[in-house]
Symmetry: C2
Subunit: 225 residues, 2 copies
DNA sequence: CGACCATTTGATATGGATCAAGCGATGTGG
DNA sequence: CCACATCGCTTGATCCATATCAAATGGTCG
């Protein structure tokens, strides 16, 4: 456990692994404005620096946002599963790029149309804001991940994914080790080693590299610290 | 330099140090709704978990948002200078707490009133969204900071502060070393050592601990990598 | 079957954390 | 006005978690 500041304060609150924006009823009317588009595995949806003309909602598959740093490293901003909205980001242009991790179907919504609609319908405006606020919360949680130890990061990641793909205790990860590493700010080797260690600790099982069984969630939560 | 992924791609874009939301003309009408409140140095403005009833805009002084982790570490979410808006965050309750670093004057705006106004005035709604998007961009940039080396983090921090307190090359930092460390995900010792190293490299001067003169910005930018 | 790619595992190096001591500024009481 | 405590910061020595370099393993596709 890394030390940063040892404040012995009273306010202990767990970092809530907030998943990306999942708009169920939300954006209901809005979805009519969008066109569903297919993207093949590894296809680019938009690139860093592209004008942010559209918003996106995953219907099928998984999408990853990422950013290449000047030195060649890559930071993965997030993984987006069916129901999740992505492409919000900051302003005129996309700060990250987005790629389909697996074959995906994505609803593409024209931003200008959405804004125009929001101008006329306060409900839409409110939803737009709400979706953005939740994305903000997700990114803040991501920050909290990045200051933890490798074991904590991996454990938190597994718990997050398990929560988002509710299929009992078995999770089928759509992303590669490299994607996970770049999301968690670790190397692929460290991710792999940490998973092996968690297996030895009987916290998880690894039937195959993409499939992970959570055997002891409370142990994971504890490691999550 | 830490390795994460060595993608030799074409898209090289520098992490733009986006400062917190600074609403100049923005929130113009809105500000009439708010009451200016004084906060003494170290006074708490709101606490993690408090219902998020208000939005805030710094008029004078500096505010820091932070979060205590279960193990006693602290993460500083951001520093807010005059003109900056804070307290947006996620939804019903504040994920971070906010404290005045120096004696501050803060405009306090009731969220419900603002939302009501946004319902009637699309411009207000749009501004609210815009402010949130910019905060989102700031937090994403913060993530990019946290995966860099100590030297890069400190250099980036100095450049960011210099940009936000435009007073030539001399910056008077309102925050302590501990605050900086908790913002950058480093220890106070590492921050201090790194500043000393930057001084030896003649990138900066340290006339006093809170005052920093940028002697060679391009060198800092280069370190910033 | 063989080539290729993703993943795991091993050995070593290193950046930053930790532990500890020193230093300078500020403030307090005598 | 000066001794002395305190606090924030710096500097030094050492340790450790994770990166790096390297090789082995395993699964997939032609």
């Amino acid at each position: 456990m890394l030390r940063q500041t040892a404040y012995h304060a009273g306010a202990f609150k767990q970092a809530t692994n907030s998943p990306p924006v999942r708009s169920g009823e939300l954006l209901g009317a809005i979805e009519l404005m969008g066109a569903p588009m297919p993207f093949a595995r590894n296809a680019e949806i938009y690139e860093e620096g592209d004008p942010a003309e559209y918003l996106y909602k995953v219907i099928e598959g998984t999408v990853r946002t990422s950013k290449l740093l000047a030195d060649g490293r890559r930071q993965v901003g997030g993984f987006y599963l069916p129901g999740d909205v992505f492409g919000l980001e900051t302003g005129d242009e996309h700060a990250f790029s987005a790629e389909a991790i697996a074959d995906a179907k994505v609803l593409v919504i024209k931003r200008s149309a959405l804004i125009a609609l929001a101008d006329r319908d306060p409900d839409v405006a409110r939803q737009l804001w709400s979706v953005t606020c939740r994305e903000l919360g997700r990114v803040q949680d991501h920050i909290l991940l990045l200051i933890k130890s490798a074991q904590e990061r991996v454990a938190a990641f597994l718990l997050e994914m398990a929560e988002r793909v509710p299929a009992g205790n078995a999770v089928d990860l759509p992303m590669s080790r490299q994607d996970i590493a770049d999301y968690l700010g670790l190397t692929i080797e460290t991710v792999s080693r940490t998973l092996s260690r968690l297996e030895h600790l009987s916290a998880i099982e690894l039937p195959s590299s993409r499939r992970i069984v959570l055997r002891n969630r409370s142990a994971l939560s504890r490691l999550n610290a």
